[in-house]
Structures are given as structure tokens and as C-alpha cells.
Symmetry: D2
Subunit: 294 residues, 4 copies
Amino acid sequence: MSQMFTLESLNSLPLPAFSAAIGDVFEHASWVADAAFGHRPFATVAALHEAMMGVVRASPPERQLAFIRAHPELGSKVKRLDLTADSQAEQGSLGLDRLSDAEFKTFTALNEAYAEKFGIPFIICVRRHTRDSILKEFRRRLDNDADTERKAALDEIALITRLRLVARVDGPGKPKTEGRLSTHVLDNVSGKPAKGVRISLYEIGASARSLLAEALTNSDGRTDQPLIAGGPLRIGSYELQFAVADYFAANGTAQSDPAFLDVVPIRFSIAEPEGHYHVPLLVTPWSYSTYRGS
Amino acid sequence: MSQMFTLESLNSLPLPAFSAAIGDVFEHASWVADAAFGHRPFATVAALHEAMMGVVRASPPERQLAFIRAHPELGSKVKRLDLTADSQAEQGSLGLDRLSDAEFKTFTALNEAYAEKFGIPFIICVRRHTRDSILKEFRRRLDNDADTERKAALDEIALITRLRLVARVDGPGKPKTEGRLSTHVLDNVSGKPAKGVRISLYEIGASARSLLAEALTNSDGRTDQPLIAGGPLRIGSYELQFAVADYFAANGTAQSDPAFLDVVPIRFSIAEPEGHYHVPLLVTPWSYSTYRGS
Amino acid sequence: MSQMFTLESLNSLPLPAFSAAIGDVFEHASWVADAAFGHRPFATVAALHEAMMGVVRASPPERQLAFIRAHPELGSKVKRLDLTADSQAEQGSLGLDRLSDAEFKTFTALNEAYAEKFGIPFIICVRRHTRDSILKEFRRRLDNDADTERKAALDEIALITRLRLVARVDGPGKPKTEGRLSTHVLDNVSGKPAKGVRISLYEIGASARSLLAEALTNSDGRTDQPLIAGGPLRIGSYELQFAVADYFAANGTAQSDPAFLDVVPIRFSIAEPEGHYHVPLLVTPWSYSTYRGS
Amino acid sequence: MSQMFTLESLNSLPLPAFSAAIGDVFEHASWVADAAFGHRPFATVAALHEAMMGVVRASPPERQLAFIRAHPELGSKVKRLDLTADSQAEQGSLGLDRLSDAEFKTFTALNEAYAEKFGIPFIICVRRHTRDSILKEFRRRLDNDADTERKAALDEIALITRLRLVARVDGPGKPKTEGRLSTHVLDNVSGKPAKGVRISLYEIGASARSLLAEALTNSDGRTDQPLIAGGPLRIGSYELQFAVADYFAANGTAQSDPAFLDVVPIRFSIAEPEGHYHVPLLVTPWSYSTYRGS
């Protein structure tokens, strides 16, 4: 974990210390911090990030290209040694450093096709994606032209560095980088929040599902912690499972045998990594409804 | 397929023809039909069935026991040759004649334990059950005492023979032996029935799921045929899947990318084989509800 | 009530009898039937009506104008003697022959303004409207130009005569002139249709509400008869009231005191007189939902 | 408005000052405060209140009776001069000091019947009731026996004085005396909170309805302030009205003309004055649902 700075202290550091502090936010490109230094003081963390991206976007095309090319390939096993610590943590969080052979082949083939067509590595802010949505994006973006992808690479770098910066710099005006997934269970037989409902959250991949969280609803029918929080949500498919038959049995509410509703699955997709997804369940032993709430 | 008789014609047949017509409804026990003959004429098919069950229930204990014992073991491979055509069809419909080795062992062990404890074969109206609910019933009933199981065997025989009889005899007052599963999709954005929604129905077993039906909703938001009909519903777990993202995309209704709701799963259990289960979906791209309707 | 004819018999009548049979469907204009006679035989009732409207639309402008002008003023008390029996029944059904003095003044003023601007009486198919929607249409149409209103008058005459014709002629291909309002109550605590729920239907006018129907739900949670049927629905506002607290109390379902939900009102508007409005209630003592169903 | 004290300061006051501070919390009975003084120090405001009620409940029957009798009649016009300031404010909040002649007669008759039967005035914590629920309680309690009503009077006095005490004494462990009514509108077409929905809240009396609050939903689909807060909710019937057609029209969502749903009324009763009633609306132009939420 890198050291944390306040925006205030950053604003008062001399150039070498400033660049030492946040220079590696941009992959192998401390010149970005060097040039942004001239724009001090920064009123907000967002303004600091915009200044740094402004340096990148205003740099000559060859420099931009070299900068983009200095980013690692996605899911590469061979280039593992070149990864910065941040890149490694980001890609590792998705299991991209633990790909099966078949998946590794798919990623390798896509990486090669992309590099051959565009001459740059495929860049994407992995922390905003599931493996499936990365593959989908990979395939979609392969159909673009070079200009579009040059821009897409910079946009994704902006998303990547924004996340790195807010992890490094504390201060006012942080850009919104965190999403949240929450739920709420209402028992429409008793008119009260449903307490003690076992909830499981799965990520549903094309090939597998993985358990992300388990929780028990509290006396307000909510989970003590959001189901996902503290960073961007990953674009992808999810399933919430609510063990409602056990809940109603524990409360003595009449059900059929077997219960009409046992474990209620709610399958949904997340499209906005920085959004709030509230996915409640209103339930009786014979009915339920759900919706994207707020 | 056996020959079909009308209740009217049965009422007018002489004894030998009467027993030839419906004697085999009771497994290896044409004496039941012989004795029921004296109760003619029957006003309803249900009355005929009750008369036959009355003969069984009024017969001496030893005869009842011999009658019960003449029923085949469930899922037996070895005694295949002894099965009546009806028993074979009933058990085959559930795949009990195609058990895996592990399942065969489970059934064999349960059969042996049951036979040893009660001295009679485990009898259950398989057409009203999935494999999972048969196993559940098997385990539950193993805890009963002998008297309870003697009664349970006769009750199940009543259910089995009722089904056989309505398949053999046409006439007024048929007992209700058919359940029905239907659905209905309402598009709450347009206020209209959702036409063209792809629906899949699965049976969800403990170890596997199997596709039972596929359908497309018509202009009334319903399927042209019930999802299940024409016989008892099987007690067990099911999942309906509704391809709502495709539907809304085809209708130009705005959705997120990826769609918040893609394929909506509704998982439910059936407890009443002769009941009507109407399981509708009221849906927008951001919400849905379901309930046991009528 | 006029005599009923079959389309088949109409097709075979000589001209005088043909016109005697349906000549008065068009107000004071038996020449329409005379001219339509030449288009026999008619395959459907709709084709007969289209032929008659075709005669009107193809007639010279002065004749059309005279024909339109022969229609009575709406809500007129003074010209009561001139009304055909059909007009009287249609306007009477809405209480337009029992207007209060204030309402009479409003109608008189609108009639005069309309007549002065367009030189024709305001024509509207009253059986498709409530008093409020007639007033709304009156005001809306006063802003039109003369051509638009000439066309509107003919369109309304088509609607009026279509209703008269289907009341006079039986046969294949009747145009759809009947709407239907129905409901359905599901008890989501028991998972069953709610039986014995008292339902009241009100028309909600700007100045008053009037009770249109009362019913008790049957064992399928529906009313034995549709709440409105047998003719066009009237465009306007309605309120259904469901006495759910009484229902749940009668069924021993726990409620608060006083009950959170007592009489549930559902207020909605009808816009399609020939449509089917199914307005169900899914209810527990603590929640409900409704939707336009099918 | 009386002076506010902290529990801490009350705990350290000498007897005369202590009784001067809170003596009038109990109607014409500063002896209650005098006797409670001996139980200092009080850890919580609730403990102080319990100590005072303990004094009342432990006092000799004749003293209790005299104490009860010193309370004013409900809705009395004649005895207006005797009312303490608190009683006047409490009864005035409900309009009990502005009764019509007919209502005054009803209250007078009930007061007389009650006084004659029980020899004490009818005491009820009016701030927890609407006029209708007071009448209902009046009639219900008239059927009780004297002992039950003596206890009921003390229970209501506990509720009345609890409210007075929390208005006078600040400190830890305040008893819960405040309820809350809130709402929330979700637009299920867009999957977002509905912003800008006009909401009206009415109290629905047996004879009249009165507007209690009007609000516009904010960007979270909620009202900036709870619809009712800051004190007990009044037991009674309410109606929320949501102007959904205007909302959908402003957002360009397709509706019929007239809109199927215009102003959606949700009628409900409050039974728990200290509870939280969250009554949300999930809505499309063709459907809605509501429930008691949390």
C-alpha cells in the first residue's frame, strides 16, 4: 500500500517530492506529474486528476502513443515482471493472473489481434468490470477504428488513474469512484422488515458463478453492510438469493409443503460501476416483487 | 393403450366383461372389480372408483396385505419383468427405469429398509411426484409406524388407481386428477400483454435441472398451451425463465447496457398435483413481480 | 326497441323494406340506406356500415352539410320533441336530458358558440363519453377550424351509427363496439383468490361521483359479471373500491387496529371505449398492487 | 412555552426548584414531583417519568381518584377557564376547542354518560388521536367497567405526561414519543427515483377531509421533510395523493389520453402513534404498488 497524502500537503510540496508522491499514478510516466506540478494549487482532488489527464491529452501524439504502449497487456502471464504493483493488484482482483489455459488462450488471441490491428495494448479499467464484461468489451472494441481506440485507451486510463489517485490523495472534491449494492427485505404479511433472512450474492459468469457475499438481514430488513461497497461495482451479471421459506417458517407464517417460494433468486446486471443499486425484495409466501430502488 | 369404455357401457356389461374391462386397474387384483360389480349402476366415475376402493378397504387384513405386497418395488431393475404395463409406464415417466448406479443404490437401500421395517413395498403414486419428492417422501415415511404406512399404501393406491380409471372410463363425475401450470406476462411500461416473450420451464432437481417446456407468449401475453396440463403436476421445484431484455429490445423500450433485467428466473414449488398454478410476470426493464394467481 | 334483422335477411329484402329496416340508423336520412342498397350483398355487418358511411362521405358537400345540420343539439331541452328515439335514449343515458340549470347554461353556451363558429351542431357519440369528457371534447373542438370539425362530425356520426346498426342487425363481422371493465382480487397472504370482497365502482365526475356497480368477488376472486359490459365504455374517470379490511377480518388474517388498509381505492381513467380494462388488486393487509391487465 | 431543563440540572436542584420546574407536568398535582424528588438522581428522562408515575400509582385510591378528577373534560367549552396551558394546547391542536354545535353536543353527551357511569372525566392523550379515533375510543371505553377505566385513565395520563416531560426535560434516555410518516416514489419505467411528483396528504375524517401537507419529491424521490414528524402520529385515516400523470407527462413518458393513472390515492390508517410509517409508491403509467415499508 502506498503512502497517503492530503491534497493540502501535495499543494505545498516542492516538485521532486510532488512527483515522488503521485508520479506512479500514471504508469511508467512520472512526466505527467512533473508537468501537472505547474498547475498547483489544486482546489479539489478531481481538479488534480483533470490537470494530470490534461497533460496527457495535450502531449504530442508520439508521446501519447509511447505512453499508451507502456501499459501492460491484459491477462498476460509472460510479462508479469513488468507489471507495476497497482496493475498487478487491479488485474489480480479479477483473477486475470489466474486464468485457465483455455481462458489464457482466449485472452492471448484477443491481445494479439488487438495489438496487431491497433499497435497498442488493449487498455481497460479492470476494476469496473467482470471477466465477462471485459471479454465483451474486448470483442466490441476490436471492431472500432484506430482513432476511436486511441481515445478509448485514454478514457480508460483516466478511469484507472482516477481510482489510483483517490487511493493516494485525500482531500475535498474527490471524484465519485465508488458504487454500492444494497438490498432490503419487507415481509408483506406482517407489514414489517424481514429480520433474519439469509442472503447470498453471486457473480454469474458465462462459465461459472462465484459467491461474493453472504449476509443475514437485521431488524430493519437490511444487511449491516452494503453487499458491495468501497470501490466501483463491476459491470456484469449477479444473482441475489433470499432464503424466504426458512424465514417464514421461523416466523410461523403458513406456507404450503413444499413451500411455493423457497429460495428466491433475483438476477440482474450492473451497468454503472459508480451507481447505487438498491435491489429490494417485497415478499409473502406466495408473491414477491423487486425493482431498482434508491 | 388400453381400450376406453364409457361409464354407461360399463354399467350394462355382464360380470366377466366388466372385470375384463377394468379388472387390471388394481394391480394383480381383478377380485376388486368382481366385488365392485355388485354396486352397479354407478352414477359417476368417482362413484365407481370409490366403490372399488371400498372393496379393498373392506377386505380382510390378510387380503389387504397380500394385495399391497403384490405391488412392485419402486425403481427396481431386477423385478422389471413383474411390472404391469401401467406400473412400467408410470415409473418410466419419471426415469425410475433409467436410474444411475448411485441412484439405484439409494433406491435399493431405501426399498430394503422399508421392506424390512414394514414388510410391504413402498407404494407411492409416482405420477404426482418428481424424483426428489419421492426420495423425500421415502425418507419421511420410513419414520412412520406400520399402521400409518398400511394406510398410506392404500391412500397412494387410491391415487394410482384413480388415475388409471379416468384413463380407462369416460363419463360424468370424473374425479379431478389434472393440474395445470400457466403463466402470463404483462408489460407495465406499455400497459399491454407482452407478446413474443421467450419462456422456458425447468424442473429443478437436487442434482440436475431438465427443460420441460419452451414457449413464446402470444398477443394476450399467455402461452397458446398451458405449460403443463393433461395430468397431475409433479410435486417438486421448478423454474420459469422469461427473456425480458430481448422482449424490451424488440419493442424499443429503453434499457441500460447491459440490461438490468435480462432473463428473469422465477423459482417455485408445486405442492398440489391437481391444483392450478398460475405464475404470472408483471415486468418493466427495472422491476417485476410475480404471485400465485388463479 | 326496434326490430332485429339478420344480415342475411337484409341482403335479400327489396329496396323499400331494406330502407324501412335500417333507414333511420342515419338521423333523418333514409336516403343513405337507399343508396347503400345498391352495394348488396354485404358479407359482414361492418361492410354494410362502411357502405352506408361511404354514401355519406361521397355525397355532395351541401347534402353532407344538411345531413349534419339535421342532428340535434347536445343537451338541448327546448328541441326535445325533435329528437329521434335513438338520440333520446343515447343522450338520456348520460343524464343530458336531466341537466341542472347551471349545466344547462354551460351546454347552451357551448352549443351556441359552436353553432356560431361552425354553422353545425356539435356532434359526438355520447355513449362513448362521460359528461366530463364531453365537456372536455366540446372545449377542445371549439378551437378547431371548420374543415376539421366537418370531418369530426362525420367521424362521430360513424361511431353513432355503428352502434345503432349493431343493435339492429345481427350477422357475421360485427364491428367491435363493446368494451369491458373487469377486476380480480388475489390474496397474497393465502396465495388464493380473495372470495367475498365487496367492490364498488364509481364514476368520478368533476362535480360528483356516482355509484355504477357493486359486486362481491366469487371463489375465483372475480365478479360473476364484468363491472361494465354490453356496450362502449365511457371515456372518463372511475374509482374502484375494495373493502379489504372486512375481507381479511372475515378470514382471520392479522391486521392492525385500525387496519392499515381498510377500503382500497383505485382511481383510473378509461380512454378506449371499445377496449378491455382489467384492473386487478393483489393485496395483503400491508401492501397492494394494481395494473392494467388483460 | 415553558422553560427547558436538562436532566442533569434537575438532578441537582433543591426540592422547591425541582417541583417548580416540573410540578405542573401532572395536572394540578405538584405533589407528584415533590414525592418523586426523593428518587433522584435519575439516569434517564424515562426513569424520571417512571418515578413520577410510580408516585401516582402508589398513592392511596382516594388521592388517585381526586387526581384523576382534577383533569378537564374533553372538548368542554364551559370549563375553558380551568384548563392548564398544556391541556389547552393539546386539545386545541385537534380542534376540540372549535367544535361545531352538533359535535359539541356529541362530546357533551359522551362526557355526561362517561362521568355518570364512572364518576371521573374521560381522559385520553389527544395528541395521539384524530377526532374520529377519540370518538371511537370514547364509545369503546364507555362499555368498560369502572376498574378498567380507572386504569385506562392512569395509562392515558402516563402518555400525556410523558409528552409533557420530554418537552420540558432534555437528557439521555428520552422515551420514544415521536412517530414519522414518510414516502418515496420510484419510477419503474426509468428505474430511477421520481423527481418532482406533487404529493398531498389528507386526514380523512368521518365527516370531512383536511389537507395536512403538500410536497414535491426531490431527486431521491423523497420529500425533503417527513410528511409528519416531531411528535406522535394521530391514530386515524389518511390519504396520500400522488400526481403521477403530470410527472410522466413532464418526463415524456407515453400515456393514454386521458392518462390511465392521473392522481393516485393511497388510503391507509395509522395505528401506532410512535411508529414509523413509510408508504412508498412504485409506479408506471399503467401500474403501481404500495406497502408499509421501513
